[in-house]
C-alpha cells in the first residue's frame, strides 16, 4: 500500500516539459470529493465518496475512497489504489488493490472499467476478489441534466453483486443491493457545489431476507445534504 502512495508522490512531482508543445507525457491531477450527512433511524450518518488521479493522458494512478460514519463511529471505510490505462477514446481499464478499514480489515484485488458511455453516462464497473477468495462486483452510473448552467440534476444507479452468500456479513449471492439516487447540485464554481440528494436503497434476494430479519425492512429512503468539491 505505502509503495503505491510513494509512486503517487513521485508522479506528482515530475516536472512538466518547458517546450511550447509538451514532450513526453506531462503530469496532471484531478480530485473529486463528495461529503454529505443524513438522518437515518434517528442517527446522524456522515458519508464520503471521493476519487482522483495523478498522471499523464493515457496512464494514471487512480485512487478511490468511500465510507460512512454513524454518530462518529466508522461503519464502512475503504480505499482503492489503481493503475488506470486509457484503452479507447472514452474508457480506462483499471487494476489494483482495495483495502477495507471498516467494518473489518480486508484486502481485495480489483479489476475494473471506468469511462463515459453513450449519452454522457459516467460508468464505473469493478470486480473484486478478497484475500479469502470471495468474489464481488459493483456497477455505478450517473448522468447529468442541466436546469441551468449551474443547477444540475445528477441521477444515479449503483448495484452490488456477490458471487457467494456470506452469513457473517449478512449478504446473499447475486444482486444484493441497489441504490437509485437523484442529486441536485448548484455549481457556484466548478470547484465548489453544495447539493441535496434523495437516495432509495433496496436489498434483493437473501440479502433482503437478512435485512428484514435484522431491521424489519429491506429498503430505505435517505435524504442527504452535502458538498462536492473538485480540484
Amino acid at each position: 500500500m505505502k509503495y503505491i502512495f510513494l509512486l503517487a508522490g513521485v508522479l506528482a512531482t515530475a516536472p512538466a516539459s518547458p517546450a511550447f508543445a509538451a514532450e513526453g507525457d506531462p503530469v496532471y491531477n484531478y480530485t473529486l470529493m463528495e461529503a454529505d450527512i443524513a438522518e437515518i433511524d434517528n442517527e446522524t450518518v456522515g458519508a464520503w465518496d471521493a476519487q482522483g488521479w495523478i498522471g499523464g493522458d493515457y496512464n494514471r494512478f487512480w485512487w478511490k475512497s468511500e465510507g460512512a460514519l454513524t454518530d462518529g463511529n466508522f461503519e464502512d471505510a475503504e480505499i482503492q489504489a489503481l493503475y488506470s490505462r486509457n484503452i479507447s477514446r472514452f474508457w480506462d481499464a483499471q487494476v489494483g488493490v482495495r483495502y477495507d478499514l471498516e467494518p473489518k480489515g480486508e484486502t481485495y484485488g480489483v479489476i475494473g472499467l471506468q469511462g463515459l458511455a453513450p449519452y454522457f453516462f459516467e460508468v464505473d464497473a469493478a470486480a473484486f476478489v478478497s484475500s479469502s477468495g470471495e468474489v464481488s462486483a459493483r456497477f455505478d452510473a450517473t448522468g447529468e441534466l442541466l436546469f441551468t448552467q449551474r443547477l444540475i440534476l445528477e441521477p444515479g444507479v449503483a448495484f452490488d453483486f456477490f458471487a457467494e452468500r456470506d452469513r457473517s456479513r449478512q449478504i446473499g449471492s447475486g444482486l444484493s443491493t441497489a441504490e437509485f439516487s437523484a442529486q441536485l447540485r448548484y455549481e457556484f464554481t466548478r470547484e465548489l457545489a453544495p447539493y441535496v440528494e434523495l437516495a432509495y436503497q433496496k436489498a434483493y434476494g437473501e440479502t433482503a431476507d437478512f435485512q428484514r430479519a435484522a431491521t424489519g425492512s429491506d429498503d430505505d429512503t435517505v435524504f442527504k445534504i452535502g458538498l462536492r468539491t473538485m480540484f
Binding site: F20, Y28, Y58, Y119, Q149, M230
Partner: protein, 535 residues
Amino acid sequence: MRLKLAGLLIVTSTLSASAALADVYDLKIDQFERTVEGKTLTGVSINGASPGPLLRLHEGEDVTINVTNTLAVDTSLHWHGIILNAKMDGVPGISFDGIAPGETYTYHFTAKQSGTYWYHGHSALQEQEGVFAPIIIEPAAPEPFQYDREHVVILSDWLNDSPYKALANLKKRSNYYNYNRRTVFDLWRDWRNADGAQKTNVIKERLAWGRMRMDPSDIVDITGYTFLVNGETPQDNWNALFEPGEKIRLRFINAAAMTYFDVKIPGLKMTVVQADGQNIEPISVDEFPIAIAETFDVIVEPEAGKSYTIFAAAKDRSGYARGTISETPGAEAAIPELGPRPELTMTAMGGSHGDHGITNDKPKSAETGMEGMAMGMSADDHAGYGSMSAMETGPIVLSYADLRALTPYTDRRAPDREIELRLTGNMERYVWSIDDVKFGDAGPLELNYGERVRITFKNETMMEHPMHLHGLWMDLVNGEGDMAPRKHTITIRPGETISADVTVDATGSWAFHCHILQHAATGMFRKVTVIGGPQ
C-alpha cells in the same frame, strides 16, 4: 488598464529612412503586470510591454536581434512567417536549445521578404502570457497599392487565469469553461418551437449528440477572455488617428492564444491587399474572418469628421476587441451588436453511425462519429469559405476562395506526392493530435529537399484549427491555379479537407503545429525534418 504601446518604437537603432540594411535590435523578455477587470496577473513582456516593440525591418536588411532572458525559466522568440535559416527560427528543441535564464541569444537573418508579420515566444505557454509583437518589413520595390498612413492592429485575448492553470483545468474537465451547455429548458424550447414532424428531429438530434458523447455548444475550449487591440481593452478604446482625406493601411495580426475573430469596420469598406504578408488581388469586403496567427492588410478611406469602430468579434461571440478610427484622440463610434453565440449543427445525419458503443471504440482512436454527417456552425455561417459571389445581399465577407495572389509564384510544379494529415483530438482527455498521435509520441514528418509536396489537412474534430508551417510557404489550393495565395497559416474548419502545396526549399528541422496554443501544447504539433539539400 492603460498599457500604451510605449515600447512600440523602442529599438536600439534609429529608424533612418535610408535603412542601413544591417541593424541591431535589443529585446528583453521580462515579467510585467496587467490588471483587467480588477484582477492583476503577472504576464511576460518584451521590453516591458505586451504587445512588445514593433520591429520595422527592410527587405534585404541583415538583421541582428539580441534577446536577453531575465525570467527564471527558459525563453525563446520565433519570427512568425519569416523565411530564414532553421537554426534562427527560435523553437526550443527543434531550432536551438532555447535561451536560459540570464542569457542573451543573438539571432541573425537576412530579411528576404516584405509585409506584415509578427514574432512571439515559443517556450512553454509564454506567448499566452503576453510574449508577442508585430514585424513590418518594408519592401525594396514600391508596393502595388497606395496609402498615406498605417496602423498595426494586433488582436489578442487575455484570460484572468494563468494559461498553465487553464490547461490544468481543461485536463480535469474539458468543459470546465463551457457555461453555454444545453439545458433541459433549451430542449423544451426547441421542441415547442418545432412544428409537427420537426419535433421528433429535435429529440433525435439531441440523442445523436448524446450518443456520440459530443456537445454542440463545445465551440471554444476557454471562455472568459478579455479581447484586446494593441494591448488595450474595449473600454480603453485604442485610437487609430487620421487626417482628412487620408487612406489608412491597417495591418491586422491575430496574436490571440485561442480566439478567432470576425473583423468589420461599420461604415467603411475594407480593401484587402495582403494576406500573411503576401500581396493579393485587392478585394473590397465588409468583413473578414481572421484565424489565429494570420495577418491581413486592409486599406480604408475614412470620411473627414467621422469616427469608425474597428470591431473584432470573438468567434464564440463571448466578447469583442474594439478600437476607433478617428481624427481626434478619445473619439468613439457606435458599437455593433455581437449577435448570437453559434452552435455546432448536424445537418446531414446518416443512419449508419448509430452504434458507437464500447465495442466500436478503438484504442486511442479519434473516431468522432462524423461519418455520414456534415457539421457546420449555425448563426454565424457567413464566415464560410464559399465564394462570396453567392451572397448577393448582406455583408460581403472575405473567404479563402477569394484569395488570389497578385503575381504567380515561381514554382508551379504539380506536387510529387501527397501527405494526408488528419487533425484529431480527444476532448475527454483534452488531448489534441495529428493522425491520433500527440507530439510527445510522434516521430518527425520527413520532407525531401527540392520536392513539391501536397499536404492535405482533414479536420476530424469539432473545432477549427489554424495550421502553421515554419520555414516553408504553403500555397493554398483554393481553385486559383497559378494565382494560389501563399500562406504561413491555413485554417481548416470542422469536417473540412483543405490542401496546400509546399516547395521544400529550406533545409533543417521546423515546427508544424496548430496555432490554438492549448492545442499545440497538448500535442497537435509535429517536427518537420527536411532530408538532404545543401549543407
